[in-house]
């Protein structure tokens, strides 16, 4: 399988009186349709690595290749366009827009992309919500839903523009065990059956068994010894 996301010698340092290294010299390849869990203790740089792979942050050195395309030197707008078309994010806190209904939250990336008309975008959003089992909550606002339901709406939103890669940062960190299992299953299905590349940053050891591969990070470095298929 070809590398869908490829990181070469990624280093991210925060400048300041005492410079902080978040990620150091990380190289990895994630193939299309692969389900990867990035694990490690708190503060080891998992989220920072995810932000770099998700083109939300720019590495101090090294480079990220998205489907073979080197993103080094891309300006903010170009990176934003890549995120819009190819990447979908799921965060620990659902981060749904509070004033919008579930349906409108899912429609937001499609409306931004502007390729589907309003009616088709709405139909697709309803399909996605149905696939994730939250169709009946389409017209509810986030505050009217449970944590698990909100997270499923957030996954539907991440899938809105049919991205190549789903990046999830502690997606079950705020959920009960039943909802966590549902979210895990959904992400696993997306990789296995829909060919999406899924990269999940998690503390949840249950992901270790669900994911195709585990990557361990320690103090910003890849822990090669733990690099093993799950």
């Amino acid at each position: 399988m070809s590398a869908c996301v490829r990181a070469e010698n990624l280093t991210r340092r925060l400048a300041g009186e005492v410079p902080v290294t978040l990620v150091e010299d990380v190289s990895l390849e994630v193939a299309r349709g692969e389900f990867v869990a990035v694990m490690g203790p708190s503060g080891c740089g998992k989220s920072s690595l995810l932000y770099l792979l998700g083109l939300l942050d720019v590495p101090t050195s090294g480079r990220v290749l998205m489907d073979g395309e080197d993103t080094t030197g891309f300006d903010e707008n170009r990176l934003a366009d890549l995120r819009l078309r190819r990447l979908g994010f799921v965060f620990q806190f659902h981060f749904l827009l509070a004033e919008f209904t579930a349906l409108h939250n899912v429609m937001l990336p499609m409306r931004k992309l502007g390729e589907l008309g309003e009616a088709r975008a709405q139909a697709r959003a309803l399909d996605l919500l149905a696939e994730l089992g939250v169709a009946e909550h389409a017209h509810k606002r986030p505050e009217q839903m449970s944590g698990g339901q909100r997270q499923r709406v957030a996954i539907a939103r991440a899938l809105a523009n049919d991205p190549m890669v789903i990046l999830a940062d502690e997606p079950t960190g705020n959920l009960d065990s039943v909802s966590s299992a549902t979210v895990r299953d959904i992400l696993g299905t997306l990789a296995r059956e829909h060919g999406k590349t899924v990269i999940v940053v998690t503390h949840d050891s249950a992901f270790a068994s669900a994911a195709g591969r585990r990557i361990m990070l320690v103090d910003g470095h890849l822990d090669q010894s733990a690099h093993a298929p799950g």
């Binding site: 827009l97 509070a98 931004k112």
Partner: protein, 414 residues
């Protein structure tokens, strides 16, 4: 743009109270802007109208702007001519050959002129004396340049033709001397000439001083009384287009030599005061809108601060900084536009109320309503000010919103 508009609308509608406060600021700002500017502009136009209507557009007087050229200088224009002890020739004051000047002015299209001889006289009646200004004029010409005929409350100007010893006086003087139509008064000039004249007209202009200190007789009678035969000391000129007065005055002066002063030149100090007044007025009313725009700044700043997470997530989704800026600027525009429209309504009500206020200015004998001007340009200006201040107030927080780095917010929230 539709997406940004819908996000902006959602933000505003979910903060109804704050939005309403911002909106109220703009509505009041626009309404006060309209109220104050309509009054200022109305009084300015009223003032200019009075100036244009009640005074001649151009007055040609028996003066020269600069000393007349000596014949020796005219004969040797390139020579080094120096004259000592020049004594001006004593002559009867007034415009010489005024008929020619009058004919020239009347030959120009859209111009009407009337010759006037003005001098000081003393009016005596029943042992009382009062010094006034006497103007000799030709009624049929005077009618074309003056509103005197309209101001007559008794008699007519033509009565001066019928009665060569007729005199038209102001209402103030009539009241003071208890004079009425048909009464006789004695008029004494500085040279000691005395005439008994019959009152054939009484006028009221509303200007108390003018109504007490101005009388009119026929030109010929004035020339005899003031001992200035065949002379006038003023030509009053009226134009179809009063705003061309300055250019026409220059042309007349260059042709006939005597000083021709337009109403614009004569009232230059007053007109410049009006300009200063306008600058002050627009500064004050614009300041009201600037203050109102702080409400918008406050609202949108709060929204930006509250929505940092939303901004971060939208940027992670692929929104550009300019999309985010646009959302918040649109919020400012919405408040500005709706505020302007509602402000127009309130402003019209305010103008209506101001227009009902009746006052009696000092020196006037009539009650007048406050002059209110409702011009399209005021509404355009008010809306432009309101929109500019709204967009300006929204731009600062919008720029801040656009600069939000999603990782900073996501890291903080995690």
């Amino acid at each position: 743009m539709r997406l940004e508009l819908s996000i902006a609308m959602t933000h505003l509608l979910h903060r109804k109270r704050q939005t309403l406060v911002s909106l109220t600021g703009i509505v009041l700002g626009v309404a006060f802007f309209l109220g104050v500017s309509s009054l200022m502009r109305g009084s300015e136009l009223d003032f200019i109208k009075r100036l244009v209507d009640n005074s001649p557009h151009i007055t040609v007087s028996d003066e020269y702007r600069s000393a007349r050229e000596q014949p020796a200088s005219a004969a040797w224009p390139d020579g080094a001519v120096q004259l000592h002890g020049v004594k001006p020739q004593t002559e009867v004051r007034g415009i010489r050959g005024y008929q020619r000047a009058l004919a020239f002015i009347e030959s120009m299209p859209g111009l009407r002129a009337a010759p006037v001889l003005t001098g000081s006289v003393v009016l005596t009646f029943a042992g009382q004396a009062h010094a006034t200004t006497l103007s000799g004029m030709v009624p049929e010409k005077m009618k074309t340049v003056s509103t005197l005929e309209d101001k007559l409350i008794a008699g007519t100007m033509d009565a001066l033709d019928a009665n060569l010893n007729g005199i038209i006086i102001g209402e103030g003087l009539a009241d003071r001397f208890s004079l009425s139509m048909g009464d006789n008064v004695n008029v004494t000039s500085a040279d000691g000439n005395v005439r008994t004249m019959k009152i054939v007209g009484i006028f009221r202009t509303g200007n108390a001083s003018y109504d007490e200190n101005q009388v009119f007789v026929r030109l010929k009678r004035a020339q005899v009384l003031l001992n200035r035969p065949n002379r006038v000391n003023r030509l009053l000129v009226q134009l179809d287009d009063p705003y061309a007065a300055r250019d026409v005055a220059t042309l007349i002066e260059s042709r006939i030599g005597y000083k021709a002063q337009s109403w614009i030149e004569a009232s230059e100090d007053l007109l410049s005061v009006l300009t200063v007044r306008n600058i002050i007025m627009y500064s004050v009313v614009a300041a009201i809108l600037v203050v109102a725009s702080f409400g918008i700044y406050n609202t949108i700043s709060t929204i930006v601060m509250e929505k940092l997470r939303d901004i971060a997530i939208m940027k992670s989704m692929g929104f550009h900084a300019r999309d985010i800026r646009r959302v918040f600027v649109i919020e400012g525009v919405i408040v500005g536009v709706i505020g302007s429209i509602l402000g127009f309504g309130l402003g019209l009500v305010l103008m209506g109320m101001l227009g009902q206020v009746a006052i009696k200015p000092p020196g006037a004998s009539e009650v007048i309503h406050l002059p209110v001007y409702r011009g399209l340009e005021q509404f355009v200006l008010a809306a432009a000010f309101a929109l500019a201040s709204s967009v300006g107030a929204a731009w600062l927080p919008a720029r801040k919103g656009g600069r939000v780095h999603p990782v900073d917010i996501l890291r903080g929230a995690a």
